[in-house]
């Protein structure tokens, strides 16, 4: 491999220094998960599979791992699916159709996106209670989807705007219905956008903490983030096991990120390049 040019070497050095704390954190997580004790970044004592016993048995009054794991899986996939479906329908309408209030709607969506969701938590709590959705996964899913939709709509609108009108006109002339044009021409052509939004929504929902923490009580409905948090709240914190839980929690994300990073890059590159 050829050496980097001098200017690049400096850049890489700076980036390496900046990344160091994060790298150290990940290293700590890995070591702590597998060893008895870790002082600084040095493992002390022996190798400790005990840290992983939550995998096969319930620990300290918590539900077995499969409960929060399954809840998180349901939460993330349903949120992602709903978000992709609703955002693409809304974005297509906004991108392609003239209707009264279109501009106002677009502006409102943008404002909602900028609005800090945490400030709504108490109101949301009351609304869910009123609807009988408090302490249910469905309730949190609805809230999460609603809060993420503005971003999704704007993102998908960018992808649809980039589609040529003439292709849709051609499909109409070829004999397709308006709905068919959306379903069989427009959607396949914004596939990169759908995948990007889907991956993004999945990751965001998987990592969500504050909404389930506030809106769910029963341990049978915990998500992974709450399961992990429960290890912190005791007088004695088993850092070894918590690190192991953290690694378990992070594993699917790493896999998904490796598989989906091509689509994610699309989002961060502005989202308009189909």
């Amino acid at each position: 491999m050829p050496l980097l040019p001098p200017r690049w070497r400096l850049l890489v050095a700076v980036l390496a220094v900046l990344t160091l704390p994060i790298g150290a954190g990940v290293l700590w997580l890995l070591l702590t998960g597998w060893f008895d004790q870790v002082h600084g970044l040095l493992p002390v004592g022996g190798w400790s599979p005990e840290n992983w016993r939550f995998l096969w048995q319930p620990v300290g009054g918590r539900p077995p791992l499969r409960v929060p794991l399954l809840n998180s899986l349901i939460f993330a996939t349903v949120v992602a699916a709903l978000e992709v479906v609703v955002a693409s329908l809304a974005a297509y309408a906004i991108s392609r159709m003239a209707f009264p209030g279109r501009r106002a709607f677009l502006g409102l969506v943008l404002v909602l996106h900028a609005f800090p969701a945490v400030s709504l938590l108490i109101a949301i709590f009351y609304i869910l209670r009123l609807l009988g959705l408090f302490d249910t996964l469905a309730g949190v899913i609805l809230v999460k989807v609603a809060l993420e939709l503005p971003l999704g709509i704007w993102l998908m609108k960018g992808f649809f705007d980039y589609l040529s009108w003439e292709i849709e006109m051609a499909a109409l002339v070829d004999g397709m219905s308006r709905w068919g044009v959306f379903w069989r021409i427009a959607l396949p052509l914004v596939r990169p956008g759908l995948l990007a939004l889907g991956t993004f929504a999945l990751l965001s929902a998987w990592g969500e903490f504050i909404l389930p923490f506030t809106l769910i009580v029963s341990s049978q409905r915990w998500t992974m983030a709450m399961y992990m948090q429960s290890f912190l709240s005791e007088a004695f914190t088993d850092f070894g096991m918590m690190a192991a839980v953290g690694l378990t929690y992070a594993a699917p994300v790493l896999v998904l990120f490796v598989l989906g990073q091509r689509y994610l890059l699309n989002i961060y590159a502005g989202g308009v390049k189909g």
Partner: protein
């Protein structure tokens, strides 16, 4: 494939307060090719999209033979259309692109395959059918788009600037091919173009548009010889016609210090005199000085200044004068075009 007669009646389209097309009347015969010619924004593409069924007319009617179609969905009109960008479906192979309209008609698979092959062979793209649009050249994409429009054997073929994205060389060749194909199939065709040479070369008749209105519908020859307005006179023909603004008095047209004899009697008053560069020569009596000489291959376009009035004269390269030379411009009196002050032709 049998073409139908197409009739537009008082067809209008408004977008908000903007009138895109105003009270258009036009009849296109069965199997005829009519070109819609005009600058961008003149309403020609809007009219085409109303015929296709993409736009709903604000008022007026569209008839295919005696069937009124303006309220019908595009799929019930049986039109084929080629778009300027070709608008091929990028996620489908050329085969699937061409098969698309047939699949929507739910034709049996074997018939779809047979018709796609036949159309592709007709257009010389049969070896490319399993490629994607991005993998073939612009000319091949254009043929694929034409194949997709023709494969369902439409009653009307609509071409929206189908050649404007091609290289100049292929364009002239494609012109001839499209025209031949259209005549062989006998399909009624509308060609939208802003290129007057393309319109004159391909069409049976040319309809000239300006700001949403139809100015003249005529054969290419007639359009060239007897433009109905100064707009048509300026737009059709290359190099463009000389148009002088001046006054008609008894038997003469006065422009600046120049006087031109008139071939026909016209009412006195302000107006325009037009004369094509090829209808002028440099062996006449109007004294002037050569300002610019542009080589045009076999001929040269000479700009002559006649005391403040500039005329462009087309001469053979052999007779090409030097810049600054004193020349006498002559007019073939029977080849001038006379227009009144509003630009409408009044003679000869």
């Amino acid at each position: 494939m049998k073409g139908i007669r197409l009739r537009l009646e008082r067809l209008s389209k408004r977008f908000g307060r903007v009138v895109a097309v105003h009270a258009l009347d036009l009849e296109v015969g069965a199997g005829e090719l009519v070109a819609f010619l005009g600058p961008s924004g003149c309403g020609k593409t809007t009219t085409l999209l109303m015929i296709a069924g993409i736009y709903q007319p604000t008022s007026g009617a569209i008839y295919f033979d005696d069937r009124r179609v303006d309220h019908l969905h595009p799929r019930d009109r049986d039109v084929g259309m080629v778009f300027q960008s070709y608008a091929l479906y990028p996620h489908l192979t050329l085969f699937e692109n061409i098969a698309f309209p047939l699949r929507l008609k739910r034709l049996p698979h074997q018939e779809v395959a047979a018709r796609v092959r036949r159309t592709a062979e007709l257009l010389g793209i049969a070896p490319l059918l399993d490629r994607y649009p991005a993998q073939v050249s612009g000319g091949q994409q254009q043929r694929a788009a034409l194949a997709r429009a023709l494969v369902k054997e439409p009653q009307v073929l609509l071409l929206d600037e189908p050649l404007s994205n091609l290289d100049a060389q292929i364009r002239v060749q494609a012109r001839g091919e499209i025209r031949r194909l259209q005549q062989e199939l006998g399909v009624t065709t509308i060609l939208v173009t802003h290129d007057q040479a393309e319109a004159l070369a391909m069409a049976d008749r040319v309809a000239v548009f300006s700001t949403g209105q139809l100015l003249q519908v005529a054969s290419p020859d007639e359009l060239y010889r007897r433009p109905a307005t100064t707009f048509v006179a300026r737009f059709v023909g290359h190099p463009p016609m000389n148009l002088l603004e001046g006054t008609f008095t008894n038997g003469q047209f006065v422009c600046g210090r120049q006087r031109f004899a008139l071939p026909a009697a016209v009412p006195p008053g302000p107006g325009y005199l037009g004369v094509r560069p090829e209808d002028l020569h440099l062996r006449g009596e109007l004294a002037g000085r050569v300002v610019v000489v542009e080589s045009q291959g076999r001929q040269a376009l000479v700009t002559v200044d006649l005391d403040g009035v500039e005329l462009k004269v087309l001469v053979d390269q052999a007779d090409r004068p030097a810049v600054g030379a004193r020349v006498g411009v002559g007019v073939q009196a029977d080849r001038v075009h006379l227009f009144d002050a509003s630009g409408v032709r009044i003679g000869p």
